[in-house]
């Protein structure tokens, strides 16, 4: 599903910063992996490259058989929309849209008709047990509920991979465990490839494989 070969990334500046120093990584379909590393290790940069949010300088990145390199902004947006679902630490829901409107948004950018995307979003919310909360705004919900809305939004487009950046970081431990259970269940039952970036060993321990990154290389 994911194939990285000798990926390098340098941030230009007065003092160029060589962040990724030749990453080789393979993740198969249906895997649940976690990426761990200290801050400054390059794990965020790796996540950005995996999520097509950032470009890399050297090497190759294949996502589901497609080479992801030097894409135009529009093209990158299209790939992100169709292939990747994001889950963020701070949920990143749009505050003036209701839960269901937030879940509909990726479908809106795919050009799905209003009625159809509403139906799809409602189905997804139902799976999360949030049917009653569909018309509520994010600030009327708890952290766990918000993260479940965000997960619904990530899943609604049936992406190839889910990228989760510290999905439990902003939640209390009980809710964090619930969210992790949910992600694990999705991986198990729907065979969704899932990559979780975390520095929490308890979270990492629940995944099939832990990728440790240090000083821009995989250990």
């Amino acid at each position: 599903m994911i194939k990285l070969r000798n990926v390098h990334k340098t941030y230009a500046g007065a003092q160029p910063l060589h962040v990724l120093k030749g990453i080789d990584l393979d993740i198969a379909e249906g895997e649940l992996v976690s990426i761990m590393g200290a801050s400054g290790s390059g794990k965020s940069t790796l996540l950005n490259i995996l999520g097509i949010l950032d470009d890399y300088d050297e090497g190759e990145y294949h996502l589901a058989g497609t080479l992801i390199k030097n894409l135009s902004e529009t093209r990158a947006a299209e790939y992100r929309n169709r292939m990747i679902g994001f889950i963020f630490q701070s949920f990143n829901l749009i505050s003036f849209k209701t839960a269901v409107e937030n879940v509909e948004l990726p479908l809106f950018y795919q050009g799905v008709s209003r009625r159809k995307r509403h139906q799809m979003a409602m189905d997804e919310l139902e799976k999360m047990g949030l049917t009653d909360w569909a018309a509520h705004y994010p600030n009327e919900m708890s952290g766990g509920q918000r993260q479940r809305v965000a997960i619904a939004r990530a899943l609604v487009t049936r992406p190839q991979i889910i990228l989760a950046d510290e999905p439990t970081g902003a939640l209390d431990s009980k809710t964090g465990i619930e969210v992790m259970e949910l992600l694990k269940r999705l991986n198990r039952e729907e065979h969704i490839t899932m990559i979780i970036v975390t520095h929490d060993p308890n979270v990492a321990a629940q995944t099939n494989r832990i990728i440790r990154i240090k000083d821009g290389v995989i250990e």
Binding site: A77, R80, N92, F96, K97, P106, T157
Partner: protein
């Protein structure tokens, strides 16, 4: 539709800010419409006044030579005479249709029974009625037979007739009145023109020339013409005409002061140019007023984009293309500009209608004559379309900069801002 509900959602969040910005735009458009309307009012009033005359006519006066010529010094008076009129009638038939002379005799007293009124006399040819668009309420104007026979007939304005028969001025038609010591028959009563003081009594030109011992002299020659369409053609004609008349008075053919020519056609042309300049100036002033509104919109949109950086980052992360972000901002800008612009436009049209109802219908009384400053001070449908176009362009321009800024937002940076 999707876009509009998005915009509705976002503007709802900042009602005060949106309406303050909108006010600037509404004000700009309001000023533009009011200015254009007022300008149209002035222009229409001016045109209504010049409608009193036939455009294709010229008037010629005698002047004073400014060049020595043919052995004579400069500074001689030139007086037009019957010979000049004859030349005008016969030598320029290609362009000149009808010509006539005018003579004035001031301070005549007209008596009817006990009543009298003081007026001035104006000896004219039949063509005079056509050139000045004289309107009669009764009777007829002077005709060729009056001229040929030097009939003692006159046309009197209604306001002067009222002095002679206070309650029924039109009954003066066909009556005999005394002008000085001579008896004249009233053949016509002229409609009172409120925009001028009318005390002129019209008589056959030949009658005045004979009675008041003017020999063959006259004050003016007037004529109507055709076939002179451009300014150049008019100028060439005037030059030829001037040379011919000057020669009859032994003045240099190119002496521009020997006779004066007043061409209503070129004057109307220049007037039209002047009106266009005024109109353009009003547009420019209006647009500059609007500009401050547009800058305001642009400014607010920039702030909005800054506030919504994170939101745009999220949108981009889940698949919004830069073009779709661009579209949101520009459409929002056009909708805000357009919505408030239309409010301004409607208020402006309302103000114009109010002006029309007050100033437009109430003539100003100066004592001597009445004048209307504004005639129909409104803007045309075409102007409204023009203003709509201006609004759309203005909205696009106002939104462009902020939109480009929003489209350039990088999702990583936007999402990092926590």
């Amino acid at each position: 539709m999707e876009l509009l509900s998005e915009i509705w959602q976002t503007t709802q969040r900042n009602k005060l800010r949106t309406s303050l910005t909108g006010f600037a735009v509404a004000w700009g458009i309001f000023m533009l419409i009011v200015l254009l309307g007022a300008g149209n009012g002035l222009i229409n009033a001016q045109q209504a006044n010049s409608d009193d005359y036939v455009d294709n006519s010229m008037m010629v006066f005698g002047g004073m030579t400014s060049k020595a010529y043919d052995g004579l010094k400069e500074g001689r008076d030139v007086q037009l005479d019957n010979n000049d009129l004859k030349t005008t009638q016969t030598r320029f038939t290609q362009n000149i249709e009808k010509a006539g002379g005018i003579l004035y005799e001031g301070g005549a007293t007209i008596t009817y029974g006990e009543n009298y009124v003081s007026s001035s006399l104006r000896g004219v040819y039949p063509i005079d009625a056509e050139i000045n668009k004289t309107k009669l309420v009764a009777g007829r104007f002077i005709n060729e037979i009056d001229i040929r026979d030097r009939r003692k007939v006159l046309i009197i304005p209604e306001n002067q007739a009222r002095e002679l028969i206070p309650h029924n001025p039109r009954a003066l038609l066909g009556q005999t009145v005394k002008v000085g010591q001579m008896a004249f028959t009233v053949i016509g009563i002229e409609q009172e023109d409120k925009s001028r003081m009318s005390t002129d009594v019209h008589m056959p030109f030949t009658t005045v020339q004979a009675i008041y011992n003017r020999g063959d002299k006259m004050r003016r020659i007037v004529f109507t013409f055709h076939g002179l369409e451009t300014e150049q053609e008019n100028e060439d004609f005037e030059k030829r005409y001037r040379a011919t008349i000057n020669r009859q008075h032994r003045a240099a053919p190119d002496d521009e002061d020997a006779i004066w020519i007043w061409n209503r056609f070129t004057q109307a042309m220049q007037m039209a140019q002047g009106m266009n300049i005024i109109r353009t100036a009003l547009w420019i002033i209006g647009l500059f007023t609007l500009l401050s509104g547009i800058v305001g919109v642009s400014n607010i949109m920039l702030i909005t984009v800054r506030e919504r950086t994170r939101e745009f980052g999220i949108r981009k992360a889940i698949g919004a293309s830069p073009a779709s972000i661009l579209r949101i901002i520009i459409t929002e800008s056009i909708v805000v500009t357009g919505f408030f612009g239309y409010i301004g436009m409607l208020l402006g049209i309302g103000a114009n209608l109010y002006m029309d109802a007050t100033l437009g219908s109430k003539p100003i009384e100066t004592g001597l004559f009445t004048a209307t400053v504004f005639v129909d001070p409104t803007v045309s449908l075409g102007t409204c379309f023009g203003v709509t176009l201006v609004l759309i362009i203005a909205g696009t321009i106002a939104g462009l900069m902020p939109a480009l800024k929003a489209a350039k937002i990088r999702p990583i940076e936007a999402l990092r801002a926590e």
